[in-house]
Amino acid sequence: MRTSEILVIYAQELRSAVRERSIVLNSVLLPIFLYPVMFWLIITGVTFAEGLAEGARSRVTVVGLPEEHQEILDSLRATNVVEVVEAFGTRTESEARLARGELDVVAEFLPPAETILRLPGNFEVSLVYDRSLERSRRARQRVEGVVERYRERWLSREARGMAISREEIEGFRIAGRDVATQQQLGTMLLSETLPLFLVVMVAIGCFIPAIDTTAGERERSTWETTLTLAASRGSILAAKYLYVATLGVLAGVLNVAAMFLSLGAVMRPLFSRAGDQFQFSLPWLAFPVMVLGTVALALFFAAAMMILAAFARTFKEGQGMVTPVYWLALIPLVLGRGTETTLTAFSAAIPVANVAMMIRDAVRGVFLWPLVVETMLVEVGAVLLLLVLARTILNFEEFLIGSYNGSLWRFLRERFLLRRAATSVRP
């Protein structure tokens, strides 16, 4: 292999890539615009849905309201977003109307259960609603809010009448206090999303280039042209591999950059609306770890996808063959999401998932350096294994000239499991 010929072929591949719309879209534009566009769509969608829901009046039927609590009805009407519908018949009939969509909530007032504070006039409210409907859920929230506020007023009045404090009448209550800082909340959010998106984006970045440079070449009849270049097969393979990995890294880096740029402008306002305050920042050591992880992911995906795509004779065939790599990579990621565990000696031995966990730890400010080293060694080992496999496959002539008609699995089965003695298949 010569560095000069690798560079010439690599440059040619990159130059071709930037002129192919699908590659630019998947490896450059998608990573950049995914977050801003996605978050913009979320905000727009949420705002639109909220607008629609806010404007809709909730139809509520109140059943069994004690005379002394008629104030609740006035409170409901005073909201202007609740329409109190007169109850007809029994509770069962009201629920039937709810099921038909004629009502949004049935509020039934019941005598207090034995276990509830025995205050004269005390009551229990049962809110019957349809959770599968947004307007019914919203109606429940509205009624619950009104009743809760009334309950507070009523309890306070009763306490004053009994010359005791509001707390005494209530017995005990559970109070929660969030000790997480805005910074910690931001870190939690980043550690959940960033590794997942990074893996997906690096995979997407490699996807089209891996197919384009293998199956795409066969489809365009340039594969044989490439084979007649004075460069060695190893140089050609290396150049193509580096090209695919480069676009994978590019997609990953652009994605992370776009994510941080869009956080302040898009995500923070989004969460503020929901009442949450987040602050997004990363420990500086997380950046080199992320870069390392991105490169490792790109090298892995590039090798795996190129091996699979090289068996295809058309671009379309290649897409079908490479797609399973996505799912295989995502399975451990999805399973590992939401867990608080850090990288362990066992999880560091699982390619792709180990890098995602390593990045997640780094985002949280956890740097388990021996496990980081193990992760990188495992990734390098996996990549080397894939490259050896690619080199071995490339030595089979029928594969090289594109006359082989089958998948990687069939090829491995025939050549290594069944050990077919054939030298080559007719071109």
Binding site: Q12, R220, T222, T225, V425, R426
Partner: protein, 303 residues
């Protein structure tokens, strides 16, 4: 309209030592030397198939060596072995002294390979294409720009040199293809059925280019199944059938040996009628025809 504005410029050999190693030619002076070349394939329905079986030939500088055969005769397989795309099952082939198995990169650096199945990279411009092939095929980097400029001018590509190949007409693509084949000034060129799919005018222009390249002293291996092309172009014609070279020699040799005038008849004589005896070139594969071959079809008078 002439295909070329002038003859194809040779590299300025006086001023530099070509990067392609100038290994000595074989003792016979052949640029291409093939002996016992064999390729065996495995076919699921037929088992082992000898696509090329013990082929021998030589091609000297300034010679067009034609492989004439029907589809499936073994022409393309032979060409692919010479260009190191395929590995021979047995036998030897050397280009400019380099063995196709032991020194494949050196062989390819000394070779320009043109065939219908070697398309151009569609997203590169014509100029970028030529620059890429020159660089990757080890043409001296400092001379690439000059060489590309010459070929752009000679092939009339100036107006389209910055257009992407995918946007060029088929005629322009053909010109770029030939230019990329010769851009690194290889001493040996292989043209594998180069006129397949071309219209008459483009096919004639292609023949003219090949003749000009031959006149520059290049060794050319040319495969075709079109008799008229072989008649007009080839200095030596080898008739290949079922992986064997049945006869090899100049058109005159074949005429004398078979007593037939037209190459078509000569071809049929060997392939279908099982022509008796071999042509008399000592390095040819198969047997040489004797002077006492059939004379049933008298040749028309020449001229």
């Amino acid at each position: 309209m002439a295909f070329l504005a002038g003859t194809i410029p040779a590299a300025p050999r006086r001023d530099f030592r070509p990067p392609v190693s100038a290994s000595p030619l074989s003792t016979s002076g052949a640029a291409v030397w093939v002996e016992g070349l064999t390729k065996t394939f495995y076919d699921e329905s037929r088992g082992e198939v000898h696509a090329v079986d013990g082929v021998n030939f030589q091609c000297r500088p300034g010679e067009i060596f034609g492989l004439l055969g029907a589809n499936g005769a073994g022409k393309t397989t032979t060409m692919r072995m010479l260009s190191t795309i395929l590995r021979p099952s047995a036998g030897t082939a050397r280009l400019m002294g380099h063995d196709v198995v032991a020194e494949p990169e050196e062989v390819r650096a000394n070779l320009g390979f043109y065939s219908a199945s070697t398309a151009l990279y569609p997203r590169l411009t014509a100029r970028e294409t030529l620059e890429f092939f020159a660089r990757v095929n080890r043409y001296p980097p400092e001379l690439v720009a000059g060489r590309v400029g010459e070929l752009v001018h000679r092939f009339g590509l100036a107006e389209f040199q910055n257009a992407r190949v995918e946007k060029l007409s088929s005629g322009m693509k053909q010109k770029v293809s030939i230019a990329r084949t010769v851009v690194h000034d290889p001493p040996v060129l292989i043209f594998d059925e180069p006129t397949v799919g071309l219209d008459v005018i483009n096919a004639l222009e292609m023949q003219e280019v090949i003749r000009e390249i031959r006149d520059e002293g290049k060794a050319i291996i040319f495969s075709t199944h079109i008799m008229s092309e072989a008649e007009k172009l080839c200095d030596t014609i080898a008739i290949i059938h079922a992986g064997h070279i049945l006869a090899s020699g100049s058109l005159e040799d074949h005429r004398r040996a078979t007593g037939k005038y037209y190459l078509e008849d000569i071809f049929v004589y060997y392939v279908r009628d099982g022509g008796a005896l071999p042509v008399g070139r000592s390095d040819a594969g198969g047997a040489a025809p004797g002077a006492d071959g059939p004379t049933g079809d008298l040749p028309p008078s020449e001229g």
